[in-house]
């Protein structure tokens, strides 16, 4: 399905929701839930908080669906804007701890090529390392890099979600990139490539 067809399908779902079709809400949720969940998890880095934020995001979005204007932004961008806003409230309240990354990311595990429990464990270790690396980033940089590399948003879309100029979004991605590059060890890089090649 092309991008335009995808957008049209979304707009049809929105129109059905606004006309009172309850099944359309379910379909809309199923279409975007996984992406929103991954985004929220990448920002708040906690499963329980992620579930709370997710619920909050979709309830708000469904209640305010009449306010969405397709001429201003794509529905995904609009939804992600709500999600980022809710995540910011959460980690402002919780104040995520800053982890000392000099003690982490010393990964030297052998990654078997087959899908084995050891491979899954290694993958989880890499994910944990990435979570810790993201925790060390300031919130703005974390948001920028997650939106860019985790969800493939353009700088214009990132700017819209984060409510900043596109150039600012670009520099935040670059700064996050630089920051994380110092923290991700070569061993972890090679390990991740092996895991992703399964």
């Amino acid at each position: 399905m092309t991008g335009n067809e995808n957008h049209e399908e979304t707009y049809c779902l929105i129109a059905r929701c606004l006309s009172g079709d309850q099944t359309a809400y379910t379909e809309l949720y199923e279409k975007f839930a996984a992406g929103v969940y991954r985004l929220c998890y990448s920002l708040v880095l906690n499963q329980l908080d992620t579930e709370d934020v997710m619920q909050d995001v979709f309830v708000y979005a469904f209640k305010n669906l009449h306010r969405y204007d397709r001429n201003k932004s794509a529905f995904k961008t609009w939804l992600y804007t709500i999600a980022v806003s809710r995540c910011r409230n959460t980690y402002r309240k919780k104040r995520l701890p800053q982890v000392d990354l000099t003690q982490v990311l010393h990964l030297n595990l052998a990654a078997p090529r087959a899908e084995t429990p050891e491979a899954r464990m290694a993958q989880r270790s890499v994910e944990d390392a990435l979570v810790k690396a993201l925790t060390s980033l300031p919130a703005m940089l974390r948001e920028a890099v997650v939106l860019r590399y985790g969800h493939g948003l353009t700088y214009r879309e990132i700017a819209e979600v984060m409510d900043c100029p596109p150039k600012t979004a670009e520099s935040r991605v670059r700064l996050a990139h630089t920051h994380l590059r110092k923290l991700l060890k070569p061993e972890a890089q090679g390990l991740l490539e092996e895991l992703l090649s399964f």
Binding site: Y37, E51, M54, Q55, E127, L192, E193
Partner: protein
């Protein structure tokens, strides 16, 4: 020169890898990467980091179907609670509050709506009482003025009739002029 090239590469490398630079900058960085080992090392480092980030972030936090279903149950519950207004509770409270406000307004406005006759002039009465008092109790000094003094001053003596004006006919000006011009 080498330091300048490396600084230039570092500034634009992320955008270069993502093909987000102008043709002029792209050409320049490509040349630096070819000519400078330091720039080439910077390119490979940034490229590998980006690959790792993309790979890690695209899989991180992937929810299970069960998790999503559980969240959906919570969303449905929230939506159904907020969409239906309960008969008693906040809605009823607002309704009774409105009725009370309407009743108070009616009590205040009704006397005015009925007209002025039955309106107790609780504010005006003291003024009227004062006016009556001033008319019924004339200035003693003038009342006892001798006819000769009055004739000299040119004032008309106050007669009893002047004090017998009904309350309704008393004009505010009459109280001010003890000469009885009212």
């Amino acid at each position: 020169m080498i330091a300048f090239r490396l600084r230039y590469c570092k500034r634009h490398m992320v955008a270069y890898i993502n093909r987000e630079v102008s043709p002029r900058i792209r050409s320049r960085i490509s040349r630096y990467i070819d000519q400078s080992p330091a720039c080439y090392a910077e390119y490979t480092r940034q490229r590998d980091t980006q690959r790792e980030l993309i790979g890690g972030l695209s899989t991180m936090g992937r929810p299970s179907d069960q998790q999503l279903a559980q969240i959906w149950v919570g969303i449905e519950r929230d939506m159904s609670q907020k969409s239906s207004m309960p008969k008693c509770g906040m809605g009823a409270f607002k309704l009774s509050y409105g009725i009370v406000a309407l009743a108070v307004l009616t009590v205040l406005v009704l006397p005015l709506a009925l007209g002025g006759e039955n309106v107790p002039t609780t504010v005006a009465q003291p003024v009227l009482a004062r006016q009556v008092a001033e008319v019924t109790t004339p200035n003693i000094t003038e009342a006892v003025a001798t006819p000769e003094a009055v004739a000299v001053s040119g004032e008309q003596p106050m007669t009893a009739q002047a004090t017998e004006h009904p309350v309704n006919d008393i004009l505010p000006q009459a109280a001010i002029t003890p000469s009885g011009d009212a």
